[in-house]
């Protein structure tokens, strides 16, 4: 079984792209399953179910969804193997941009959309920087010129990635994506000992543990103070 992680900011088009890519896998009789990770709520599983494929979702609730992802990914891999999948796809929540749930040796796709603003590539950080493939969506809404400018910004953040423009609505480019993300000779049988591409930010403070009160005396653990400049 091969495994692919899809990541990207909220509403960038991850589910749309994955669905279109899966449709072209199904046509080639490749067996696919999806696990969606999110924080509080997601309907994405219902979309995937329409394709009649095995689907699971995991909600991290009060935990950081990407920390939750790493702590559960082995179980998810086992689930995929039980389902006899050829490809297991995970879709992340992509909330804070600082985390990237990418694992060495597991193909990493970052989905970002043309409407998200010219500085977004720079802001996203590791999630974009360390992806193998960058999928740019919503190109139907902008001109070729804007697509080129946006692409240039992505290249300057991740010059190694293959950048692909895929339309999440009509699927243009999804076939091409399906041919480059899946390699039938690449197998992930175990994640034991594999590493994340980037360390996730360390943030264990009292608020992580449920503290709600504001004020210095309630702050413990990993606390950093904002620099507002000199006092007047």
């Amino acid at each position: 079984m091969d495994m692919i992680t899809f990541s990207g900011p909220p509403s960038s088009g991850k589910t749309s792209i994955i669905m279109k890519t899966i449709e072209s896998f199904i046509r080639r009789e490749i067996k696919v399953g999806v696990v969606k990770f999110d924080c509080l709520f997601t309907d994405d599983d219902l979309f995937y179910q329409k394709l009649n494929i095995p689907v699971r979702k995991g909600l991290s609730g009060s935990l950081c969804p990407d920390h939750y992802f790493v702590s559960n990914i082995e179980e998810v891999l086992d689930w995929g193997k039980e389902q006899n999948l050829d490809i297991l796809i995970t879709e992340s929540a992509g909330l804070c941009n600082r985390c990237s749930p990418y694992i060495n040796d597991v193909k990493a796709v970052c989905v970002i959309d043309n409407l998200s603003g010219i500085n977004t590539p720079k802001k996203i950080g590791p999630m974009l920087k360390s992806a193998d493939i960058v999928v740019v969506t919503k190109g139907d809404i902008v001109s070729q010129a804007e697509r080129e400018v946006f692409t240039m910004k992505i290249e300057s953040v991740n010059p190694k990635a293959t950048i692909l423009h895929v339309n999440g609505l009509n699927g243009q480019g999804a076939y091409e994506l399906s041919t480059i993300v899946y390699d039938d000779k690449h197998h992930i049988d175990s994640l034991e000992g594999k590493k994340l591409r980037y360390p996730m930010p360390a943030a264990v403070c009292s608020y992580c543990l449920g503290e709600t009160r504001i004020g210095k005396k309630h702050q413990m653990g990993n606390i950093r103070k904002i620099d507002l400049g000199e006092k007047l």
Binding site: R98, S130, D140, V142, S143, Q144, E148, T162, Q172
Partner: protein, 337 residues
């Protein structure tokens, strides 16, 4: 590449390849003040906290930097293709039957229009050419450029230098002024004489638009016609791409004749999908699409050419009515006859 990052200082690197500055900035690497150091020296002296804060990975950054320089330099090397030819091999209609032609070829200097009902597959044909389809699109067509299938990296490259495309949409979404936008786009296309070219685009776009806009206007505030005018001038002047694909330009609300004069140049292949009889007859040939497939290719006849002249007269008349109404005039029979 004869570039030794162990020897060259960051400052010299930026002088040699100015675009490297963007790379440092977009990777959030604070090189300022360390210009005399090499990149390795920089990483050995920089505070670890800064590295962690900005989520920088030294190895990834350095290998990325090398890739980026190669990537950008590869854009400079213009493929000086003097010949340009498109070959299309048949695919399938939406119902799965095979297209009936053996192969189609388009050469430099040709203008080909594409007609057919809405939903019939005109935009799909343009997209097949843009992608250089290799039996991997819904139509299963195969498209060769200059007699060869493009390499994967040429196809997937977002800024395909062979094809310039004007699609059906006309909005801008980026938070940039007209001048900032043109500057970035010219940079991405690695043109020489950037400022001269930007000025040219700006003037042409204003001519096409009719209503004047300034260089400082945010592109998102341009009207539909102004946006479209800017896109057309930008495509026509900035891109040196030998293939131009135009999707239904008639809805742009600008002078389509002027726009086409600007876009259609002798040394290019122009394909345009259209519902407009004038544009359809302006091509040397027209492709008729039905139910997803190429049904016919028709050479424009002599008779059609003379009909075209009549249509153009009619169009002029329509335009003059439109302008009169626009400027508050009253229409009268005598004047027009």
């Amino acid at each position: 590449m004869s570039l030794d990052l162990k020897k060259i200082s960051i400052g010299d690197l930026i002088v040699k390849h100015p675009f490297v500055k963007d790379f440092f900035e977009n990777q959030l690497v604070p090189y300022q003040g360390y210009e005399t150091k090499t990149i390795y020296e920089f990483f050995s002296v920089i505070d670890y906290e800064v590295i962690e804060e900005n989520a920088i990975n030294e190895d990834l950054f350095i290998s990325g930097l090398i890739d980026y320089i190669d990537l950008m330099n590869s854009y400079f090397v213009k493929e000086k293709e003097t010949e340009i030819k498109i070959t299309i091999y048949p695919g399938y209609y939406k119902d799965g039957t095979m297209e009936k032609f053996e192969k189609l070829e388009f050469h430099k200097g040709e203008v080909i229009s594409i007609v057919g009902p809405t939903g019939s597959g005109k935009s799909r044909l343009l997209a097949d050419i843009e992608w250089a389809a290799n039996m991997d699109t819904p139509t299963k067509r195969k498209v060769l450029i200059n007699g060869r299938a493009l390499e994967p990296h040429e196809r997937f490259s977002a800024s395909n230098k062979l094809v310039a495309q004007l699609s059906q949409n006309m909005n801008f979404v980026m938070d940039l002024s007209v001048i900032e936008f043109l500057d970035l786009h010219a940079t991405s296309r690695m043109v020489e004489d950037k400022d001269v070219i930007i000025e040219k685009i700006f003037i042409k776009a204003n001519e096409l638009a009719g209503e004047v806009f300034s260089k400082d206007t945010p592109i998102t505030e341009l009207s539909g016609g102004q946006s479209r005018a800017l896109m057309i001038a930008d495509t026509a002047i900035l891109s040196s791409s030998p293939i131009i694909l135009i999707d239904e330009i008639e809805n742009a609300g600008i002078d389509r004749k002027k726009a086409l004069d600007l876009l259609v140049k002798e040394d290019k292949i122009v394909l345009m999908s259209t519902h407009d009889p004038i544009l359809a007859l302006m091509g040397d040939r027209r492709i008729v699409i039905n139910n997803g497939g190429i049904e016919k290719i028709i050479e424009v006849t002599k008779e059609e050419r003379s009909i075209l002249s009549e249509l153009e007269e009619l169009d002029k008349k329509l335009m003059s009515y439109r302008n009169k109404l626009r400027y508050g005039k009253i229409l009268k029979y005598e004047e027009e006859l």
